[in-house]
Symmetry: C2
Subunit: 122 residues, 2 copies
DNA sequence: CCTCGATATGTCCGAATGGGAATATCGATG
DNA sequence: CATCGATATTCCCATTCGGACATATCGAGG
C-alpha cells in the first residue's frame, strides 16, 4: 500500500498548462526542497525518494515546460541546483492555488466529513 | 504512455476524508457513469477500463468510505448498479468542489499560461 | 593533476498495476 | 428448472515504475 498523505481535505491539486506540462503536489514539494537545499540529491533524500527519480522529475519539469524551471550545475563549488525565476513563479503560483482551493472547498469538505461520520454512525 | 486529460487548467482534484477514503476525478467519473448507465460493466466500457478495474474501484469506494456509495445487485431483471443517497451526495459535492476550484484558481492559471507562453517566446 | 562533491546516466531487478480471459454466482422470468 | 445478463472472483502475464547500485562527468581548489 502506497503511503497517502494524511492530510484531511485537499490532498492533490494538479494543474495542466499544456499537453506536456503539469504541476502537482509532488513536483511542487520537490521544487521547494531544491530551493531550500540547493541540491537535487539532498532534496531527494528529504522526500524519501531516489536521486534518479528526483532527477527524472526535474527533467520532466524542464522539458515539459519548455524552459528551465530548475537549473543545475556540476563541478567546482558552484555545483548544486536552484530554481530559475520562472521556477520560483510556478512554485509560488502553485502554493497560492493550493490555498485558494482549500478555502474554496472548505464548506464542501466539512459537509462530506459530516456525511462520512454520520454514515458510520459516529 | 498513459493518456492524460487534455483539459488545460485544473486537471486533478483529490479530496481525502480519512486514511482510507478519498475522492478524485477517476472515481467521480466512474460513479457518474454508473448512475447514468445503471451498470458497472457498461460504465467501465465507456471509461475504457476493464470491468475488473472498475469493480476494484467500487470496492475501494464502498469499503474506504465505510458505507456503500455504489449498490450492485445481480440476478434477475433488477441486476445492475446504482448510487446510494450518500453516493449521490459525494458525487455532487465533488462536482461542486471541482467548479469552485476552477473559479478559485482561474487567475493563477491565466498567469501561468502567460508565463509559459512567454518562456517559449510565443 | 588529484581530490571532492554533486550532477548525469545506464543496468538490473523486484513490486505493483492492470488487462484479458475464464469461471462462478445470483435471481427474476418464462 | 433452463436461460440470460450482469455482478463477483480468480489466474496468468505484459508493462511500468522505481529503487539500488555502479559509473561517468564536470570543474573549482588544494
Amino acid at each position: 500500500m502506497k503511503k497517502t498523505s494524511a492530510v484531511i481535505g485537499l490532498s492533490h491539486l494538479r494543474v495542466t498548462l499544456s499537453e506536456s506540462f503539469y504541476i502537482g503536489p509532488g513536483r511542487a514539494d520537490l521544487m521547494e526542497l531544491i530551493a531550500e537545499t540547493g541540491s537535487i540529491s539532498e532534496a531527494a533524500k528529504r522526500m524519501g525518494m531516489s536521486y534518479k527519480r528526483a532527477w527524472g522529475l526535474v527533467q520532466a519539469l524542464n522539458e515539459g515546460f519548455g524552459a528551465p524551471l530548475v537549473e543545475a550545475s556540476r563541478g567546482g563549488n558552484a555545483q548544486g541546483a536552484s530554481l530559475t525565476a520562472a521556477g520560483c513563479e510556478v512554485l509560488e503560483r502553485y502554493r497560492g492555488m493550493q490555498e485558494a482551493t482549500r478555502k474554496a472547498i472548505a464548506r464542501d469538505v466539512e459537509a462530506l466529513l459530516a456525511l462520512h461520520d454520520m454514515s458510520q454512525g459516529k
